[in-house]
């Protein structure tokens, strides 16, 4: 898309070819890039996806596009295309809902908000000024403070707008600092929010809370930790869902192209680390935060990478610490495919290095602690155990690794595929006899949390190695 806009700016007419299911997304993206009239040639998606596999099958689909292509290149510009007009006006600050009774007004409000694409599909609490003011008592931060802009349309995220969406979600004021911290994580430059919220890959965030605030607001970190029935967990997640919709101007099938939607799409996976039952220091403390501070970690997971994989534990299954460690290493080792699939200049999601989150149930954490592991040594164990001896690499894997190293050194690489400069020497030295090549770029790409109850399950979630950010909870 950006290439099409670039060529138009250089004075060359462009037609962008897109299957019908992505037309709204393409138009939205063209608008976001300042050229709402960018000309499209629209393919019948049902036939295109079914027949694109070879040239013989695709011929009728290509034929159907020819007239659109020629017209797109030659039909004179309309006045609007020559001089596009600003579409967006300042939105109305308040909306009056009139009805014969409060119940009817509530129903009318909910219908209006879903019709406007301002809701999530679940019933909402009306964000009256009084209720928003009440929500804002949960933070010392100014309502006018801007924490950033939210993609895809770069809506401005003020504390007040976040509070409005938090009211709608049914949150309490004391949850607001957690909601703000999570959104600050999403807006961090190391977080690819555009990919998480718009990709057809159907990803979702995990939102994990550490520190005293988790207990103060009664977050669940035990049995049922990613489930329903806990107001803090569920409405914090819902407030973030609504904030992403309303601050980013996001909507499924328009610019949120998640093909299957998302797991836990209304509340995401929102839980706290079970610090009371963990033998180890809290996760945020391992990152350098103080124990008395609170922090929120946001991390993209799921989609076609891995939603959630249970690795062992439970009330009836027989398990041992080693059996679960073996499943962890097996899961990481499976990512060896990235070695051979990397091709310079190509964007192949299957070649992106991964980051793994392991949520370890307390019983296993206690056993691992008894065996002498702490968080750091377990990270190191998993990292080293999954390294592949150089002698076992195929020629294709060696070539892929060499190309990845060269492209990383030259800076000619997608950030998802990059080996950072501080890790490059490790990979360079590993490509020789007697050495081992890591499957994960760094031990820090293995994030370990302790959560769940007695009994519990240990489970894994993964994504590419970007988009994992921790933010301190401020303004409580």
């Amino acid at each position: 898309m950006s290439g099409a806009i670039r060529l138009e700016k250089l004075g060359k007419p462009v037609v962008y070819v897109v299957p019908d299911v992505f037309v709204c997304d393409a138009q939205s993206s063209a608008e976001d890039n300042g050229m709402p009239g960018l000309r499209l040639a629209i393919l019948p998606g049902r036939e295109y996806y079914a027949r694109r596999i070879n040239t013989k099958e695709i011929e009728p689909i290509a034929l159907s596009a020819i007239d659109q292509l020629i017209s797109g290149l030659t039909r004179p510009l309309s006045e609007e295309e020559e001089r596009p007009k600003q579409k967006y006006l300042k939105p109305t600050e308040t909306i009056k809902i009139e009805a014969e009774s409060y119940e009817l007004a509530l129903e009318k409000f909910n219908q209006l908000f879903i019709d406007q694409h301002w809701g999530s599909g679940l019933p909402l609490i009306p964000p009256t000024k009084e209720r928003v003011d009440w929500m804002l008592t949960g933070t010392h931060r100014s309502p006018q403070e801007i924490i950033g802009t939210v993609i895809p349309k770069n809506g401005i995220a003020t504390i007040e707008k976040i509070a409005i969406n938090s009211v709608m979600a049914g949150a309490k004021p004391e949850y607001l600092p957690v909601i703000i911290a999570a959104l600050e994580g999403f807006l961090d430059q190391d977080f690819d929010l555009l990919h998480m919220t718009t990709s057809s890959g159907s990803f979702l965030p995990a939102i994990i809370v550490n520190g005293p605030i988790a207990k103060e607001i009664d977050m669940n970190s035990g049995i049922g930790l990613i489930g329903h029935g806990w107001r803090a967990n569920n409405t914090i997640g819902h407030a973030i869902r609504l904030s992403l919709i309303n601050l980013g101007h996001l909507w499924p099938g328009e610019n949120d192209m998640a093909l299957i939607g998302r797991l836990s799409s209304h509340t995401f996976f929102t839980f706290a680390e079970n610090e009371e039952q963990s033998p180890w220091e809290p996760y945020h403390v391992s990152l350098g935060y103080k124990k008395e501070e609170s922090a929120v970690t946001v991390s993209t997971i799921g989609g076609y990478t891995s939603g959630l994989t249970i690795l062992g534990g439970g009330a009836v299954e027989i398990w041992s610490a080693q059996s679960i460690l073996d499943r962890m290493t097996s899961l990481i080792s499976g990512n060896r495919r990235i070695f051979g699939l990397f091709k310079r200049g190509q964007a192949n999601p299957m070649a992106h290095p991964s980051r793994f989150i392991f949520v370890i149930h307390p019983e296993l954490a206690l056993e691992l602690n008894r065996l002498g592991y702490n968080r750091e040594s377990l990270q190191k164990y998993l990292y080293e155990k999954t390294c592949i001896p150089y002698e076992n690499l195929t020629p294709q894997e060696v070539k892929g690794l060499e190309d990845r190293i060269d492209a990383s050194r030259a800076g000619d690489i997608l950030r998802y595929d990059l080996i950072p400069s501080d890790r490059l020497p490790i990979f360079q030295e590993a490509l020789q006899s007697g050495e081992k090549v890591p499957v994960v770029i760094s031990p820090h790409d293995i994030a370990l949390f302790v959560a769940g109850g007695f009994p519990g399950y240990t489970f894994a979630m993964s994504y590419f190695r970007v988009s994992h950010v921790t933010k301190k909870v401020e303004g409580v």
Binding site: L10, V15, L43, I53, L77, E81, Q86, I164, M257
Partner: protein, 94 residues
């Protein structure tokens, strides 16, 4: 009656870009067909080139693959099209 406040994030003003003038006709022109390189876009863009070349013999259709990962620019190709081309067909967007 309920009065509620608007939950939408204010959008910043956008700089709108005028589109390039269209061609009078494609006769005698060079049109680039640029493959974004999603799965199977090679087959589709090759077929487009074949059909267009047969139907418009007075036009040169050059098929090129965009270098670099999806979402990243290919400035060399854009410069080449600016210098040698009259228009571009880009596809497919997924």
């Amino acid at each position: 009656m309920i009065t509620v406040v608007n939950p939408r994030g204010q959008l910043p003003p956008r700089r709108l870009i005028p589109m390039a003038s269209r061609l009078d006709s494609i006769d005698g022109k060079t049109i680039y067909i640029v493959d974004i390189r999603w799965p199977y876009t090679q087959q589709f863009t090759e077929e487009l080139q074949k059909i267009l070349s047969e139907r418009y013999p007075n036009t040169t259709f050059i098929r090129r693959e965009k270098a670099g990962p999806y979402g990243e620019a290919d400035p060399q190709l854009w410069d080449e099209i600016k210098e040698k081309g009259h228009g571009m067909i880009l596809g497919t967007g997924h």
